[in-house]
């Protein structure tokens, strides 16, 4: 097998789904082989960068690539949107992290993705399909222009319910309403997997609770190392404290204390604002010619 110590983390493909969402394919043969649905990576785009967690949205062991779908929401992700072109290299990417999603023996499942969560729920939908389950996909977008991966989901789902906030495509409403529709159509749903913003996952968990349907959610607290060493990612599950990076990130949605997660996600609000302002200022000062190839000039993480 290829020499295990020759990692370069090059970006081999990129696609922009909207002005905030983009997809990167990173070359990492070992990771492409090891990745399982539900796992994530920690990425550092340059040596002074932050370590940010991103879900592995797809992996191809044959091509040796892992796929990340990123929403540009703050300094780091907006900067990546600008610098991560094909041919550039990431400073570091570590993983796969987290416990793979337990794709149990459920015969009929609903896989829900909203906003940030559409891409990350894909490997689970495919995993369930491969395990022989009947898969109902529920995807939520703000409007029809933001829709992506519809065909990818159609290929692995037996049914697909599209939801948009403004009704410009599919049904008008939130994914939790889509979940309720699936439940009313099928009395024998055994499991729901919901990934997306905390409020969305909370709404889905609330929707399934009266029916007693097992509902797994993938939590996204702020992380640093992703290896269980800092405790920054701790979440409350029932009466226990768990570290999402090593004890999760998947947990039983009916046990999760979402209010606690929401409060903790606000921890660095002020710093996030400062960083973004400085970044925007910086972008105004420095104009990169359209289409220029930006190859990271920072040293690579190599032995």
């Amino acid at each position: 097998m290829a020499h295990v110590t020759d990692f370069r983390y090059s970006i081999v493909a990129r696609e922009d789904y909207s002005d905030v969402t983009f997809m990167l394919e990173v070359c990492h043969p070992l990771m492409a082989r090891a990745a399982r649905p539900g796992q994530f990576v920690i990425v550092m785009s340059h040596a002074d960068g932050e370590r940010i967690p991103l879900t592995i949205a797809d992996f191809d062991a044959e091509a040796g690539t892992v796929t990340l779908v990123i929403q540009a929401v703050g300094k780091t992700t907006k900067e990546m949107q600008r610098t991560c072109r094909v041919g550039a290299e990431l400073y570091g990417i570590a993983g796969p992290m987290g416990i793979p999603s337990p794709l149990g023996h459920a015969k009929k499942v609903v896989c829900v993705g909203g906003g940030l969560g559409v891409a990350p729920v894909f490997p689970q939908a495919r995993g369930f399909k491969e395990a022989g389950a009947y898969v109902i996909g529920v995807l939520g977008f703000r409007n029809r222009d933001l829709i992506f991966w519809e065909d990818k989901f159609r290929a692995v789902c037996d049914e697909l319910i599209l939801c948009t906030d403004d009704g410009s495509a599919g049904m008008k409403g939130f994914v939790s309403q889509g979940v309720l529709r699936a439940i009313s159509d099928h009395a024998d749903i055994e499991e729901v997997v919901a990934i997306g913003p905390p409020l969305m996952m909370k709404a889905c968990a609330d929707a399934t609770r009266p029916f007693g349907i097992k509902t797994m959610v993938s939590l996204n607290p702020i992380m640093v190392d992703g290896t269980g060493m800092c405790g920054g990612c701790r979440v409350k599950i029932g009466d226990k404290v768990k570290f999402a990076c090593v004890d999760g990130p998947d947990f039983d949605g009916h046990q999760v204390d979402f209010d606690d997660l929401l409060v903790r996600l606000r921890r660095y609000k002020e710093e996030e604002r400062v960083a973004l302002e400085r970044f925007n200022e910086d972008c105004r000062m420095r104009t990169v010619p359209e289409g220029a190839k930006v190859v990271s000039d920072l040293p690579r993480a190599r032995g």
Partner: protein, 494 residues
């Protein structure tokens, strides 16, 4: 050597070491202890009695030949002194700085019975720093033996094992989960105690021995320990992944914003360089009044980091007294000098929050020491009705760590009931060819003990691979085969 030294004839005072001014240094990350210069080191070296049965050597967890190195230092044979230390200790510049010498070598030095003990640590640091400045490394001429060794974790345990196996002629690769190697030396211990340049120099030395470092590699998840042996072609593996999973107190308010573990604080500050935010991207917002719970080395580091990051008031909260505090004496002393407030015999019972979920205060209870318990330590018990509140806007827990679960989750290595890896006297684990040592076996300990464990595992590993080792050469002949030449058949892992 000149005439025999006696306790009367040696310099009576321990040579003082220059330190940065407490007020000034509390605003920067410069190293506090400036170390001895040559004349100071030579003066202090005169205080060693060169005991024929040196107790200091027994006090050192790796048994450095202390009188010999001090003798060579005294004769200005610095290279010789370095070689003597390097025989047993790979990281003199590190250990000279961070060993709890008062409990180890210096704690039992005979001079210490009537005077202050010989400043062994400072002398060792002098030699280590000289070696770094001069670029000394002991790179033996070895024939590559074709064996490939994988080391998991780049802390002191992993570094030590890697060095010994490289010196034996193996091709060694160290895998580290973080983007930079060094373990706690990098992410935990701050620059004002152990500058990153020292860690870098030690890593460079390992590279000169031919050791390769592969960062961003989370072993267990990217590939398992079993795969390293079965698929990736490693003939033996050492696991030195440290302890690390931080303990929270488990009191109300634990999850408020502004409560964090010392590991998170130190990692953000040291590894991610958050102190330069917003020039780097990782933030570390700090309160005006920070309380750190605990009184070990980690707590002292957290306290002093907070002070340097600009907190107005920094308090240490500990349920026992100063005498029981596990930190190195020098660190407590330095923290006091810098203006840290100490609340001994105080235990938090609740962290108080505001309506935004932020910390606004802490409720504590006073403690008193009861009769010694089974472990011989006097047990702290709360004083009834002594609860009081004080204002803080940040709380840092430095109350210890548990075993990191990743290797346990992903391999079949046997764990003990606390989740640490089980290892025998040779530090072999339950998987053939896999050895382990350092904090992941013993629980949180010291740098020198982790390093010693890495070296001990290397001895076991050489035996397992059937490589001659100095340690075994001394051993007696068995079945007509000399110790160092004994061969141990390799076993395939099922």
């Amino acid at each position: 050597m000149a005439k025999k030294r006696t306790i009367r004839s040696i310099p009576q005072e321990r040579t003082p070491v220059r330190e940065l001014d407490p007020v000034e240094r509390a605003t920067n990350f410069e190293e506090v202890n400036c170390g001895y210069d040559e004349s100071e080191a030579l003066l202090e070296a005169e205080r060693c009695l060169f005991c024929p049965e040196p107790r200091c050597v027994q006090g050192c967890p790796v048994g450095i030949d202390i009188p010999t190195f001090i003798q060579k230092l005294g004769a200005k044979d610095y290279r010789g002194a370095y070689d003597t230390i390097a025989n047993t200790n790979l990281l003199p510049a590190v250990c000279g700085r961070v060993c709890p010498q008062e409990n180890q070598c210096e704690g039992v030095c005979i001079v210490g019975e009537s005077l202050a003990p010989v400043a062994i640590g400072r002398l060792e640091r002098f030699v280590g720093d000289r070696a770094i400045a001069e670029g000394w490394v002991n790179v033996p001429l070895v024939e590559p033996n074709g064996f490939r060794v994988g080391v998991v974790g780049s802390g002191p345990a992993g570094m030590a094992c890697a060095a010994d196996m490289a010196k034996a002629g193996c091709e060694v690769t160290v895998f580290e989960a973080f983007h930079q190697p060094g373990g706690v030396l990098r992410y935990g211990i701050p620059d004002f105690r152990l500058p990153n340049s020292v860690v870098d120099a030690e890593i460079e030395n390992l590279k000169k021995l031919g050791v390769r470092f592969q960062c961003n590699t989370l072993v267990g998840r990217l590939f398992t320990i079993e795969q390293m042996i079965e698929e990736l072609g490693f003939h033996a593996v050492f696991v030195g992944t440290g302890a690390g999973y931080p303990t929270m107190l488990g009191i109300p308010g634990d999850s408020l914003n502004g409560v964090l573990s010392a590991n998170e604080l130190l990692t953000r500050c040291n590894l991610m360089r958050a102190r330069d935010f917003p020039n780097v991207d990782t933030p570390l917002p700090l309160g005006k009044h920070v309380a750190v719970v605990g009184a070990g080395n980690t707590a002292m580091d957290a306290l002093r980091v907070c002070l340097r990051l600009g907190a107005e008031k920094v308090s240490c909260v500990y349920r026992r007294t100063r005498a029981e505090a596990p930190a190195r004496a020098e660190e407590i002393h330095h923290a006091e000098q810098e203006g840290i407030e100490f609340h001994w015999l105080t235990n938090p019972v609740e962290v108080l929050g505001d309506d935004q979920g932020n910390v606004r205060g802490m409720r504590c209870v006073r403690m008193e020491l009861a009769e010694p318990d089974a472990s011989g330590r006097r047990r702290p018990v709360p004083v009834a009705g002594s609860e009081f509140d004080f204002e803080v806007d940040e709380v840092v827990y430095a109350i210890g760590t548990n075993a990191n679960p990743i290797i346990g989750q992903t391999s079949s290595i046997r764990l003990n009931r606390w989740g640490y890896l089980e290892a025998d006297a040779d530090l072999a684990t339950s998987l053939a060819g896999v050895f382990a040592g350092g904090d992941i076996v013993t629980g949180a300990a010291t740098v020198i003990e982790a390093m010693g464990a890495g070296r001990k595992a290397a001895v076991g590993m050489k035996r397992y691979l059937g490589l001659p080792s100095e340690e075994d050469a001394a051993a007696e002949t068995e079945f007509g085969i000399p110790g160092g030449r004994r061969n141990f058949a390799r076993v395939r892992v099922a």
